[in-house]
Structure formats: structure tokens, C-alpha cells
């Protein structure tokens, strides 16, 4: 469904008075998301995960330079036409909702952006919110009056409006209690099981492992490896890269195995 090949992103910045230099942020990243699967991209902060999402959505900052190729459903990825309709984003925090606009209103606007005709927007927004357990009372609130879990569900409702084929979730469990986190992850899994592609971006390997089919490990802008989720078990010997193994072994659940020879 989504194929990213040899994607590199750098930031141009002035150096000295006249010259410019490009600071690399993402180097030669290749990955693919298939229909019906959840691909988790794991990396520490600064590894370039969010940049990957912005590149797919065509929303890189103006001073970013990009090279490489991205294809969606077999055709070159045309982000401005896909955004909100065929590719949807679930952002990482409540700060991505406009603080001055009531939550329900923002969902209605999103419905318009997803291509719904004007008379259908309000009912579609109400239905989407209801699907995630949010009623009229929640819709009338401003974002700062919502809990973290409610805000995340509102953003999931926005992503569900357009019946997008590819869903990109940025840190979907950030700041959520276990119950709400499980609810969000369950929904993402259900979307994949319904035949859509889901790209989960996270720093938390343990949280997304139960949901992911495959896991891509990103470190300092470079892809270490992409492994099936099943490879993360035992002492991690099924993993190819030492970094992925170290990440796995560092999890408390695995028991802090001492890193063996690097």
C-alpha cells in the first residue's frame, strides 16, 4: 500500500554569511506498509520518526530537503490529494487540537476536509464521536476541558471520518492511562484487521509490540532493521541488529538482560 524507498531528509540552514549546509535528519530509509498490517516504527526522540510521518503527509517544513521515492497504492504519492481522505493522521497530543474551537466543531470541519458534503458533516461528526464514546457534552467542550483520553478519542474520530486506507498514529499511547491506551491500540488493530494499513510511530517498544505485525527500528535517522514482531522474544537472537536486540533486552518485562558483547 505504502512504499518508501531510500527516503532522505535534511534541513538547509545558513552557515556563516553566504553558504548553506544541509543537516541530515533521515538517511536512506526504506519501508513498506501492507494492507491489513500494523507497522510500528520505533526510535528514541530525535531519531526522525515524526519527520517520516510529515514526509508521507507532505507537510515538511519549508527548509527541509527531501530525496527518495514514495508510492501509494502503486502510484507516486501525491500527498495534497491524499491527506484527510485516503491517508489520515492521529497526532500525538491534545496540543494538536485548536484550543479556541469546540471539539465537536473541529470534527465537523475535519468531515468537510475529508470531502463530505455540507449537510452530512454534523451528523457524520456526531456519529464518529459516538463511535468512540464521546457524546454531545464532550463535543461542546473546548480541548482544554477534555481529558487526555477523550482528546485522543476525538482525534481517532477525526481519522475515522474519511475511511482512510492508511492511518498514521504518532505516539498513540503517550500520556494515556493503561485502560485508554489499550482502547486506542485496540481500535488501531481493528482498523488493520479491516484491511487498512496502519503505521504506528512510537518510542515505546513494549506498548506497541502486542499490536504490531512488524517493527522497524530507527536510530539517529537511519533504519536499523525491520523485523516481524515475533522476532522480539526470548533473548532476541532472531533480531539482526545489535541495537534492536539491545532495545528489546532493555525492557523491564524481558528482565534487563545484560547486553552481551555489544
Amino acid at each position: 500500500m505504502l512504499e518508501v524507498s531510500r527516503l532522505s531528509i535534511g534541513f538547509r540552514r545558513p552557515r556563516g554569511l553566504w553558504r548553506r549546509e544541509v543537516v541530515p535528519a533521515l538517511r536512506d530509509v526504506s519501508l513498506r506498509v501492507r494492507a491489513g498490517e500494523v507497522l510500528a516504527v520505533i526510535g528514541a526522540s530525535g531519531a526522525g520518526k515524526s519527520l517520516l510521518a510529515q514526509a508521507i503527509l507532505g507537510l515538511l517544513p519549508p527548509n527541509a530537503a527531501m530525496s527518495g521515492e514514495m508510492r501509494f497504492q502503486g502510484a507516486p504519492l501525491d500527498a495534497p490529494r491524499l491527506r484527510g481522505r485516503r491517508v489520515a493522521l492521529v497526532p500525538q497530543s491534545i496540543a494538536w487540537l485548536d484550543p479556541l474551537v469546540r471539539a465537536g466543531r473541529q470534527v465537523e470541519w475535519a468531515a468537510g476536509r475529508a470531502g463530505l458534503p455540507a449537510p452530512d458533516r454534523a451528523p457524520a461528526a456526531a456519529a464518529a464521536l459516538a463511535r468512540f464514546g464521546l457524546g454531545m457534552a464532550a463535543a461542546r467542550r473546548f480541548p482544554h476541558q477534555l481529558s487526555g483520553g477523550m482528546a485522543r478519542r476525538a482525534m481517532l474520530a477525526i481519522a475515522a471520518l474519511g475511511e482512510a486506507e492508511l492511518l498514521i498514529a504518532d505516539e498513540p499511547t503517550n500520556g494515556l492511562d493503561p485502560e485508554n491506551a489499550a482502547r486506542v491500540l485496540g481500535h488501531l488493530r481493528a482498523r488493520a484487521d479491516a484491511g487498512r494499513g496502519v503505521l504506528v510511530i512510537s518510542h515505546d517498544l513494549a506498548a506497541v509490540l502486542p499490536l504490531a505485525d512488524r517493527v522497524a527500528i530507527l536510530r539517529e535517522g537511519a533504519l536499523q532493521e525491520t523485523a516481524p514482531a515475533a522476532a522480539f522474544q526470548g533473548n532476541g537472537m532472531a533480531l539482526a541488529s545489535p541495537y534492536a536486540r539491545a532495545l528489546w533486552q532493555a525492557l523491564p518485562e524481558v528482565g534487563f538482560l545484560p547486553a552481551e558483547a555489544g
Binding site: Q54, L57, G84, A88, W96, D98, A114, F142
Partner: protein, 338 residues
């Protein structure tokens, strides 16, 4: 002490009412300070009120008569006593008699203020709307050519002296092109009821244009900064990820976020607007409050001068109060905070 009394306001009051009460008390205190200061300045000015009252007739009046007039007006009393006397009258709504208009000060201010308002209100609305629109356009495409052009325009306007711009407009549109009349609020020689609406509007056009153009600069620059900031915010990125274009993000999100500072600037700028109207009324010979202030100053009409100082302070204070009330209405996060 009125301030401590407001601070100890019982919490049973709704927040908005408590806020209003506190602000109104503060406004009253401000007016008292302005009154005292203006009175002190008028007393310190090298102006002999008796001389100013007599005008050219001063030469025919002897010293005894002058002393009699001064005593009749209470000039033989110490300044604080005079101030309290004036303040007492002012509280009862009597601001004295204007010597140059030969009418009660309250009446002169009322008439003149209405004329000024006819000039200032359209200029204020026009300048605000234009400034907001330009600022939003510039902020929508920060760093683009349109942004640069609008910024240059705004800086230029902010740097231009108002009277110079007013005269330039007069030369071009009234003298060269002859589109609009050169001066005044109505054609000379006509009674107020003989002036048609079209004539009124024609006389209004140029002063309003000059005054509103002056208000555009600051509003545009403040709107631009806030709009550009909103366009870079996460919620703008999210809106675009949902498929919104830049124009939609600007109109729905950035405009909302920029409205608050723009309104604050607009209302807080009512003082500047008044200052600008003094100049504009002078250049266009508009019979408003600003022109009356200049005449009162030049011809030593102390009661009128004090009255205008009070009226202006009240006007500006109300503007600031309105700005704060609107801020609460626009931003849900500020509601309930005083």
C-alpha cells in the same frame, strides 16, 4: 480606600460582575488622577483666566474690576480649595461654562464628541478591518512577497506623521482631482438641516481615509505576527493533515488566534485614535472634540480644557475595559479570570 474595598469584594459575586466592579472603581480612580493632574497643569500655566475671559476688552477694565471678577470666581482661594470646588461641581455634572463657545462645557463636549465620533468610528472600523485582513494575508504566507509588501506598507504607515499624510491626501484628492471638498463637515453657509447625506459623506470621506490609514499599521503588524505563529502551530499542521488548504487554516484557525491581539490593539488604541483625530480635525477643519481641544488650549478656555481631558480619559478607559471584556469572550481559556 476604594481599591482595598474592591479587593475585599465578597466571593458571592459572579466573577464577571466582580471584574466589572473592580475595573469601574479603577476607572473612577484614574479619572480622579487625571482631573487633579489637569487642574494642576492649568493652574501652573502662565494663563490669566480673567484676561482670557475679557479678551480684547481687557484694556478697558481696571484693576479693581479684575480683582472683583477674580474674587467672584474664587481665585483668591488656595488651589486645593479651588480644585475641590470644581470637583464638587463636576460630580454634580456641572463642568462650568466654556468662554470661547459661550455655552456649558458639557453641552460643547457632547456636540463636539458626536462630530468626532462620526469621524472616528468609521475610521476605527475601517482601519481595524483593513489592518486585520492585511495582517492575516501576510501571516498566511510568512516570508512571501505579499508578506514583504504588506510589512513594508505597515512600517511605512507607522512611520509617517499623520498630519503630513492628511495634507498629502488633501492635495491629491481635494485640490488636484477635486473629488472631495477641501474642508469642514458641511458646505459653508448652509444650516445643518439643509445639508444632504451625500454632502455629509463627501465631507467625511477624506478625514476618515486619513485617520483609518493611520490605524492600519499597528493592527496589521500585530495580526501578522499572531497569524504566522498560528500557521506554524501543531493545530495548523493537523488541519492541513486533514486536507485543509492554507487559506482555510488561515480563516478558521489563524484568524481566531489573531483576533484577540487585534481587538486588544484596536480598543487600547482608542487613545491614539483620539490623538490622531486632533491632528486630522485640525488639517481638515472638522468641528470635532480634537479641534475644540486645540482651540481651548490656544485661547485659554480652562473649564473646557479640563472637561475635554476628563472626557478623553473616560473614552480611553472605556476602550481598555472593552478590550479586556472582549478578550474574555473570545478566548475560552480566559473566562472566569479577572
Amino acid at each position: 480606600m476604594p481599591v482595598s474595598a474592591a479587593g475585599a469584594a465578597p466571593p458571592v459575586l459572579p466573577p464577571l460582575l466582580a471584574f466589572l466592579l473592580r475595573r469601574l472603581l479603577r476607572l473612577a480612580l484614574l479619572l480622579l488622577c487625571v482631573a487633579a493632574l489637569a487642574f494642576a497643569l492649568a493652574r501652573a500655566a502662565p494663563v490669566d483666566p480673567v484676561e482670557a475671559f475679557l479678551g480684547p476688552a481687557a484694556a478697558q477694565v481696571g484693576p479693581e474690576q479684575r480683582a472683583a471678577i477674580a474674587a467672584r470666581w474664587g481665585f483668591d482661594q488656595p488651589a486645593p480649595a479651588q480644585f475641590l470646588h470644581w470637583l464638587g461641581n463636576a460630580l454634580r455634572g456641572d463642568l462650568g461654562e466654556s468662554s470661547i463657545f459661550a455655552a456649558p462645557v458639557t453641552q460643547v463636549i457632547g456636540e463636539r464628541f458626536a462630530a468626532s465620533l462620526a469621524l472616528m468610528l468609521p475610521a476605527w472600523l475601517l482601519g481595524g478591518a483593513l489592518g486585520f485582513g492585511l495582517g492575516l494575508l501576510a501571516g498566511m504566507r510568512e516570508g512571501g512577497w505579499l508578506d514583504r509588501a504588506i510589512r513594508l506598507y505597515a512600517y511605512l504607515l507607522a512611520a509617517l506623521p499623520g498630519f503630513w499624510l492628511a495634507m498629502l491626501l488633501l492635495i491629491v484628492f481635494a485640490v488636484w482631482l477635486g473629488w472631495v471638498p477641501v474642508c469642514c463637515a458641511a458646505p459653508p453657509g448652509l444650516l445643518p438641516e439643509q445639508v444632504s447625506l451625500a454632502q455629509r459623506l463627501a465631507h467625511l470621506a477624506l478625514p476618515v481615509a486619513a485617520l483609518s490609514v493611520l490605524g492600519v499599521g499597528p493592527v496589521a503588524l500585530h495580526t501578522r505576527v499572531k497569524a504566522a505563529e498560528a500557521m506554524r502551530a501543531d493545530f495548523a499542521l493537523y488541519a492541513m493533515a486533514q486536507g485543509a488548504g492554507r487559506a482555510e487554516v488561515a480563516l478558521r484557525h489563524a484568524a481566531r488566534h489573531a483576533a484577540l491581539p487585534a481587538l486588544a490593539i484596536l480598543f487600547a488604541g482608542m487613545g491614539e485614535l483620539f490623538g490622531g483625530s486632533v491632528v486630522a480635525e485640525q488639517v481638515f477643519a472638522w468641528p470635532g472634540l480634537g479641534r475644540a481641544a486645540v482651540e481651548a488650549g490656544l485661547r485659554a478656555d480652562v473649564p473646557l480644557l479640563l472637561g475635554i481631558a476628563l472626557a478623553t480619559a473616560l473614552f480611553v478607559g472605556c476602550g481598555n475595559l472593552l478590550a479586556d471584556l472582549l478578550a474574555q469572550a473570545v478566548d475560552p481559556r480566559q473566562r472566569g479570570r479577572a
